[in-house]
């Protein structure tokens, strides 16, 4: 009986460990190792020169990387915040309506079904200065056409608009799940007490939803920090460095410039920073749970 227990305990975890061990641990260790080296190819063979922390020391001085970090934070915080609010409000409305919820759910899910590269290409056309449909609407309304992706002021907002369009459905999906899982009896009690809708939202719904909100927030922040496909086609990080984000710096350094050591260091610096964020958000979640 005991042996059986032990056997099952290990066999149920083994596939995960096997996958992580063979396909995750090794590549991640490889990047970590690379981040302390410079790699050069000559005569068809590679030379790994250990450089200690040099790659990491360069990061604060790297013009693109430090701006990229700042832009990524601005981008992630703004766009995820908007997505959280919109996604929550949409889910709230869908949960409370009597008919049509399948219709709404189907429509709202569409944007996350489209590959990022298509979203980048088509939105680039829609945001185009000369022919874009958004500027056509502007002109029709008697406004000036806007240089969405080419002006330093508008490029980041334009990227955020696209990202909100793309990812709000993801937030909506998880929020809807959370809302539908809330216990009915609390709300019934509130109704009996004559609690108003706003009071109900802030005093009952939001506190109950906090764990869901935190999990969603965590997934979204991680994905936002990795944003790449859309920016690759929409602005390429420009104009100037207005939309330079970390994933883009990593891509350029790692592949285009072929500096795998520095590119790996960039990756790891970001991983470390985000891991810290996640730990904090998890601590907050635990705190919220202990209170709830």
């Amino acid at each position: 009986m005991k042996d059986n227990q032990q056997l099952w305990r290990w066999t149920s975890l083994a596939p995960l460990l096997l996958f992580f061990g063979a396909l995750a641990l090794l590549p991640v260790a490889n990047i970590l190792y690379m981040s302390f080296h410079t790699v050069q190819w000559a005569e068809g063979v590679s030379t790994w020169t250990p450089v200690g922390l040099e790659n990491y020391e360069r990061l604060p001085k790297d013009a693109f990387f430090s701006i990229g970090v700042w832009n990524t934070i601005v981008f992630s915080v703004t766009s995820v915040a908007i997505q959280m609010v919109l996604g929550f409000l949409l889910a709230l409305a869908v949960v409370r309506i009597k008919w049509g919820s399948t219709f709404y759910k189907t429509i709202f899910i569409l944007p996350i079904l489209i590959p990022g590269i298509v979203i980048g290409a088509i939105w680039k056309l829609m945001l185009d200065f000369d022919f874009g449909v958004l500027n056509q609407i502007n002109i029709w309304l008697g406004l000036q056409p806007l240089d969405w992706t080419g002006s330093v002021k508008l490029a980041m907002p334009a990227i955020i608009i696209v990202d909100v369009w793309h990812w709000t459905p993801f937030v909506f999906l998880l929020m809807l799940a959370g809302l539908q899982g809330l216990p009915e009896d609390v709300f019934e009690a509130a109704k009996v007490d004559g609690t108003g809708p706003f009071r109900e939202l802030f005093k009952i719904t939001l506190p109950l939803m906090l764990p869901t909100i935190l999990v969603t927030l965590m997934f979204r922040i991680i994905l936002a920090f990795k944003v790449f496909d859309e920016i690759f086609l929409l602005t390429g990080g420009g104009p100037g460095t207005a939309t330079e984000v970390i994933a883009f710096s990593i891509f350029r350094t790692f592949f285009f410039e072929n500096r795998v050591g520095l590119g790996s260091a960039m990756s790891f610096a970001v991983i470390f920073a985000v891991a810290l964020l996640v730990v904090i958000s998890l601590a907050a979640q635990r705190y919220a749970q202990s209170k709830g």
Binding site: W41, G44, G150, V152, T235, P239, R252, E257
Partner: protein, 454 residues
């Protein structure tokens, strides 16, 4: 137009003769011998279709098999690196379509086998351009040289920048064309400019990989400027902040903003081509491979209205166009029989017979003689051919050092900032020079830089 049509019918005979010549390739092609199947790793592009069709023709006439691994452009470099970095004998691909800006890295890293080491009888045939000698590599001296180097590959497309311009507007305004100097271009652009419905000229001001720097290079070099003092000679003193470079940048930003689109900082190559095909811009410096869209009514509203020309001259009569070609290379880490098969295909590809067939299939020939013949036989359909052939005489490479791709982001950033007016032209060039000097120092090249521009 009727006149043109009659000329066309008169010359169908000539084209038919060429087709006949092409069919004799069948007899010739049989000479390549029997070979094992090969795989070409290449990117999807407007010229891929004709290239694949030509490979099918090779298969039919020789019985040798050619397979393709077709990729989106961004994946091609990494696929090739993965293949050539595998251990000896493990290489996945037999012919690499290597882009101009990757060639220095591939040569220096020793990934490739010289064609002459596979088959000593192979030479670059008469009529096939060496494209600033980039088909040759001297592994000892680390230099592209026909004299001391070996033949490494055969160009797959001799893609270079040419001037696209609206010939119809030149005629409407009674201007001579093609324009000979950048001043001529400016005069015409001023005459055509009517923002926002029509722009005189467009430049790729976008920060890309690369956009702005690639677009700016011919302006820089035709104004007598350069990135380094003497790159082939090994003097890497930075000269991007010279008065000549400033004159070039002044021309570029002035025309690009005053006579160009209202969003010069986001004009990528794709957008510039789109401005041309949608009839929004009078002039653009673009690669020859963009031509395929100009005369296609499904893709263009300016069918028959656009011409191309060799890039105009600078103030002192200098001319330059930047290479954006692909070379077919054979990797070192594949078995000998596959090397032989790959070399045989490449050697066949550069023959006159193959190239005539290639043009017939809608390709862009690498041979100057083929281009010239087609240009003469049908001056309407093939009006791009002669300017391309002529351009091949004034080519320059973007960079020759293997770490050249690290210079690109520096140039891209400051040129983009200059054209959107975030910094002055002097500041842009001074900053670029300082950053490039620092980079070269770090990479261990002998370097320095000119005093700052005021």
């Amino acid at each position: 137009m009727t006149q043109l049509k009659s000329t066309k019918s008169l010359l169908t005979g000539a084209v038919a003769a060429l087709a006949l010549a092409a069919s004799s390739a069948a007899a010739y092609a049989a000479d390549v011998g029997k070979h094992v199947p090969i795989t070409v790793v290449i990117n999807q592009s407007p010229w891929y279709g004709p290239f694949e069709a030509l490979a099918e023709y090779y298969e039919e006439t020789t019985g040798n098999e050619v397979n393709f691994d077709v990729n989106p452009f961004p994946a091609l470099l990494e696929k090739q690196r993965n293949s050539v970095r595998a251990s000896a004998g493990d290489g996945e691909f037999d012919i690499l379509a290597t882009n101009a800006i990757w060639i220095p890295e591939f040569y220096h890293a020793g990934y490739l086998e010289a064609l002459t080491d596979i088959d000593p009888s192979i030479t670059l045939k008469e009529g096939v351009p060496a494209l600033s000698e980039t088909v040759y590599w001297d592994a000892e001296g680390k230099i592209n040289s026909a004299e001391s180097g070996k033949l490494m590959g055969i160009p797959l497309i001799a893609n270079v920048q040419v001037l696209y311009y609206r010939a119809d507007l030149y005629e409407e305004h009674g201007l001579e064309h093609p324009p000979q100097t950048w001043e001529d271009v400016k005069v015409a652009a001023e005459a055509f400019h009517d923002s926002p419905s029509f722009y005189g000229i467009g430049h790729q001001g976008n920060r890309g990989a690369p956009d702005a720097s690639f677009n700016f290079l011919p302006f820089l070099r035709s104004h007598g400027g350069s990135i380094f003092a003497d790159e082939p000679g090994g003097d890497y003193s930075v000269t991007i902040n010279s008065p000549e470079a400033l004159a070039a940048l002044n021309y570029w930003t002035d025309t690009g903003t005053r006579l160009g689109p209202n969003n010069p900082g986001s004009i990528s190559q794709g957008k510039l081509i789109q401005l041309m095909t949608t009839g929004k811009v009078g002039h653009a410096v673009l690669v020859a491979a963009a031509w395929t869209q100009m005369d296609n009514p499904d893709k263009s509203v300016v069918v028959g209205k656009v011409n191309t020309a060799v890039l105009p001259k600078g103030p002192d009569g200098d001319q330059s166009t930047t290479l954006a070609h692909f070379i077919g290379h054979v990797p070192a880490n594949i078995p000998d029989d596959r090397k032989a098969a790959a070399a045989a295909f490449l050697n066949w590809f550069q023959t006159k017979e193959a190239q005539d067939k290639y043009m017939e299939l809608g390709g862009i020939s690498i041979r100057t003689d083929t281009l010239a013949e087609y240009g003469e036989s049908d001056p309407v359909t093939y009006r791009w051919a002669k300017p391309l052939a002529d351009s091949l005489g004034v080519t320059d490479i973007f960079y020759s050092i293997p770490q050249g791709s690290q210079i690109v982001p520096i140039l891209e950033l400051y040129l983009n900032k200059a054209i959107i007016g975030e910094i002055s032209n002097e500041e842009a060039l001074n900053s670029a020079a300082a950053d490039i000097e620092a980079l070269m120092n770090e990479l261990g090249y002998p370097t320095g830089r000119l005093p700052d521009l005021q």
